[in-house]
Amino acid sequence: MKRREVLLALGGAAVFADPLLAAGRALHSRLSGGAALKVLDPHQNEMVVAIAEMIIPATDTPGATAAKVNEFVDLALGEWMDDNERAKFLQGIGELDDRSRKRFAKDFTGCAPDEQTEMLQLVDAEVAALRDADKQGTHRDPTPSQGFFQMLKRLTLLGYYTSEIGDAEELHNPIIPGRYDGCVLLDQRGK
């Protein structure tokens, strides 16, 4: 199949069988500069990209999207997590969408930015309540959407702060500090 044919095919993707669709998607994402995702489907990926960027947005420095956190999440899902962990994560994406539809009658990605923020604040507060319960010795298992958000927050921070953007540009961590100072003023660090 030639590139032009794939692009044509993608225009009418719904009529094509799955393997071809997957091949087309892989090529499409290569053409658009991203890596082929192995686990997340386009809708799941859109959600992961959106939520990761909401957690660590571009400010005066680049954010989660620029650091390709979604690719790291996909790698973790495909090659690091076991089947159960992966299934829970994907189930949680679905449940968050369900909750979004119930609340706003739209998929999460179809919501307005303030609706998305409201949705995440809700889940974030629920997860915080679970942590408090843990500290008081009354552990409760998270629901799928809570577990998903908890995990995605962790993976976003890990994926971002261990990227070159996060580690070198945002935090200015030198690989070779050259010396050790025990106790210096914050703005004198490394000077």
Partner: protein, 553 residues
């Protein structure tokens, strides 16, 4: 048959490297047999690889590690960059009885575990060398501090140790390079402890085999942090960085990697070893090498395995017995009121140390011996974000700033020798080279569990003395082996009926065989043991060469 060597050293780790250096420098043509592959610092060291260049961002290839290194990955240093310095568990099997896990952490390459070691260096004192004899535990050490002190000096001068002299009887000072700095929180804790406990409990900066100034052709530390991945400036001590180059410089070193030792060849008529049987690691061909003396430095359990597979050295019945490790994992964490506008800079490859204070000047009712604490302070990083509420621009700005100051104590306690902790040849199992494997049966006892519980109490007391808040005492259960301070399988002693080695690390039953790794230890003390192996090795090498000159060997 190849030409006979003057000496064969089995193993190129921290003690084998010393045997090689000393024997070569004393004039012996020396063959070092290393089971694993050669190490080339330029291509094998990975300490400066940025985390974003690693596929799993330093978290490791979990599925690959589960498949081939289920035991090795329990060690913190077996990470995504450094896992290659640890053995493949499938190629190197051993067995344990049901309900008695033992984590045997191993490195098979030139340099052995000296590449990934923790680099902490603490002398023993007579408190340690006299304890067995005074308490009637195990066997009395055949040496005292005065016997080993000049050898501590000898090895420390070459190694280069950073540390602070404290004048404590239970932790003799060494030949120190300038100490590393304490950070803000550590200074607060040090002051709090000093005020409350006087000279009984003392916080000092860790003593480490890391250079704080250029030393004998090796460069001062540049504080990149992850020493266990190698060090291209050779700033921390390892066989590859220091002793093997010194041995090579004599022109008398032959280093043979991929040489898996099967056994030592023993001549019952002369009661001496004549050479070493090797399985080539790559071709799996059997080979033999001859020498006048053999230094066995394969590590505590491997050395026992080699002797057991050799069929000599066990007239006392103690070979393989008295397996010990330290016990670790009691301590406490807390929040420290240190300056919010200050932080440390650089990745200091060292922490703090609290020398043993139990059963030093006063006697504890509950247990014998004692423990020391390692640990340190620091400010939380971005990792705290996953436990924090919030997201978005403010959240990101918050995580850019360092978090609150914290401090943790982590205890390392002495383990007593007990004959019921032992290793033996497992007749049902061989390794990838067809060599009979070990069965290890070892568990902590009552005294160790009491030390562990006490660690949590005294660590919390010291944090309280430093004005800490949110103090969280803890005790964690770690299987023996995981401290990676295993010792005792061929103990030194005064009597051939109850020990495997004499006071010069000579096998009682084969006077030209010397065992100078952790196998020789009659007790564990609570200090990190490597510097004591080094000192004993140098001492035994000098003795061996003198004895050869006198034609006794």
């Amino acid at each position: 048959m190849a030409k006979p060597y003057d000496a064969i050293v089995i193993g190129s780790g921290i003690s084998g490297g010393w045997a090689a250096k000393e024997l070569c420098e004393l004039g012996l043509n020396t063959l070092v047999l290393e089971a694993g592959r050669p190490i080339n610092p330029e291509t094998d060291y990975v300490e400066h690889v940025p985390v974003w260049e690693m596929k799993f961002r330093g978290q490791g290839d979990r599925k690959a590690r589960n498949a081939t290194q289920p035991i090795q990955q329990q060690c913190y240093a077996c990470d995504e960059m450094a896992y290659k310095f640890f053995v493949n568990d499938l190629e190197n099997p051993y067995t344990t009885p049901e309900g008695k896990p033992f984590s045997w952490i191993r490195g098979r390459q030139v340099g052995g575990r000296s590449i990934m070691w923790g680099r902490q260096v603490y002398r023993w004192s007579d408190l340690d060398f006299e304890a067995n004899g005074k308490e009637g535990v195990g066997v009395d050490w055949p040496i005292r501090y005065a016997d080993i002190a000049p050898w501590y000096d000898h090895v420390e001068e070459f190694v280069g140790i950073t540390g602070q002299a404290e004048g404590l009887s239970q932790l003799p000072d060494g030949k120190f390079l300038p100490p590393m700095a304490l950070n803000c929180a550590e200074q607060v804790v040090k002051d709090g402890i000093a005020k409350h406990f006087g000279r009984e409990r003392v916080l000092t900066i860790g003593r480490a085999a890391v250079l704080t100034q250029d030393h004998l052709g090796r460069s001062a530390c540049h504080y990149c942090g992850p020493c266990h991945r190698g060090c291209i400036t050779r700033s921390y001590f390892s066989s590859v960085n220091a002793t093997l180059p010194a041995a090579r410089a004599t022109g008398r070193l032959t280093l043979r990697p991929y040489s898996v030792v099967h056994s030592i060849i023993y001549d019952a008529k002369t009661a001496k070893a004549t050479g070493v049987r090797v399985i080539d690691g790559q071709t799996k061909h059997a080979l033999e090498f001859k020498a006048r003396i053999v230094f066995l430095n394969a590590s505590t359990l491997e050395s026992a395995r080699i002797l057991l597979n050799s069929g000599f050295g066990n007239s006392s019945g103690q070979l393989g017995k008295n397996v010990m490790d330290h016990i670790m994992g009691g301590g406490a964490n807390g929040r420290i009121d240190a300056p919010a506008d200050k932080i440390d800079f650089g990745n200091r490859p060292n922490g703090i140390y609290i020398p043993r204070f139990r059963n030093v000047t006063t006697k504890s009712k509950d247990f014998v011996r004692g423990y020391g604490f390692q640990g340190g302070g620091g400010r939380d990083g971005w990792g705290r974000g996953s436990e924090m509420m919030g997201f978005g621009a403010d959240f990101k700005r918050e995580l850019k700033k360092p978090g609150p100051w914290g401090f943790g104590f982590y205890g390392f306690g002495e383990m007593l020798p007990r004959p019921e902790n032992f290793c033996e040849i497992d007749k049902t199992k061989v390794d990838a080279w067809g060599i009979p494997a070990l069965r290890i049966s070892c568990a902590y006892g009552e005294n160790e569990q009491k030390l562990l519980a006490d660690m949590a109490v005294t660590a919390a007391e010291m944090l309280a003395a430093a004005g800490a808040h949110d103090i969280q005492p803890f005790t964690s259960n770690n299987p023996p082996g995981l401290v990676i301070h295993e010792m005792g399988t061929a103990r030194m002693g005064r009597d051939p009926k109850t020990s495997v080695l004499n006071g010069n690390n000579q096998v009682w039953d084969a006077k030209n065989v010397f065992v100078t790794d952790g196998a020789c230890m009659a007790s564990t003390a609570c200090q990190n043991p490597s510097i004591t192996y080094m000192a004993l090795t140098a001492r035994a090498a000098a003795f061996a060469v003198e004895a050869m000159k006198r034609r006794e060997l």
